[in-house]
Symmetry: C2
Amino acid sequence: MTNNTFSNDAERGLLLVLSGPSGVGKGTVCSALRKKMEKLVYSVSATTRQPRTGEVEGVNYFFKSKEQFQEMIATNKLLEWAEYAGNFYGTPLQFVEDTLADGRDVILEIEVQGAMQVKKQFPQGVFLFLMPPSLEELRNRIVNRGTEDDETIRRRMKLAGDEIKLLEEYDYAVVNDQVEVACEKIQSIITAEHLRKDRILSKIKKWMNEVNVSC
Amino acid sequence: MTNNTFSNDAERGLLLVLSGPSGVGKGTVCSALRKKMEKLVYSVSATTRQPRTGEVEGVNYFFKSKEQFQEMIATNKLLEWAEYAGNFYGTPLQFVEDTLADGRDVILEIEVQGAMQVKKQFPQGVFLFLMPPSLEELRNRIVNRGTEDDETIRRRMKLAGDEIKLLEEYDYAVVNDQVEVACEKIQSIITAEHLRKDRILSKIKKWMNEVNVSC
């Protein structure tokens, strides 16, 4: 009987990619969301940097040697990767795949460039773009950071502008005005995406065969 | 300044088309949803049937003569229409268009055949398919209606099966197990649809020009 009910329990999870321009508050929103949604699985990154005290393999990071990391790149085992301050960071495909196959949703919090890499390999992901409340607010945040000169501010605004242009590649745009409100909106998006027709169509087709047989 | 904020206030409304197989509870869910969402505008139908006591023009129906109704069909002024028990019923396009242009969301509760007509003229609508909790439950509801013989039950199951096949044409599938839960899911869909990137992209492009000018 249970096979004939329209529950999504046996369905694959969703990959949620949370991105947006630098300084928009991706980390804050992601942390708040994980507190509200305990079942949401955070994608653990692989890195070549040394573990810090208290960091646990598979919880904070998957720690890899440079050789291992390069092997992962060469064999297409990363959804995206980047080099930062001499160390490599990346998103292991296997962890994401296993978690989704287990029916759990995965959230990946990532810079826009990395998100575009993910989209190439995983277009079925749900791509969320976090926006600043306004252009003025974005400028204020950049100016208020401190002692930047006009040239630096100009360069950062240009960069933010280029990053916002990438919104075109995303599915949803969520304004990060209040963290709590942004979280509620993202929760609605997750609920709605689970209700998209494509996700249950294969089950329906099975049903339909049974209707035909039983008639 | 307000033009540069990412609010959706000045955006068009959404047309929500709530449909599903006969007997699934479309009317009950639609009423419950309207109670919860006061701003949601119910699409008022046009009809050629006589007004009943207390019915108000433009609230319950737009009352039309047969000639007026046929003129509306001929001049493409209906999103969909059907004849039932000698009277015509249809959805006036103008009312929907005006309400959406005013930035308000419209809900249209309708049989699957009518919904398919709407989709042809208004593919940008959000099409919600209300599902029975299970195939067994659908059969129970049909059987429990009363004194139908086996042939009638068989025919109704076949019809319901054909109607469910049309799910393929919809955007979302919502199981009507508990009315309250179904309403919450539909509210999430409405929230999410308002956050779809396409709805704010034109505004973003305007922003981008300003970023470029100000750099």
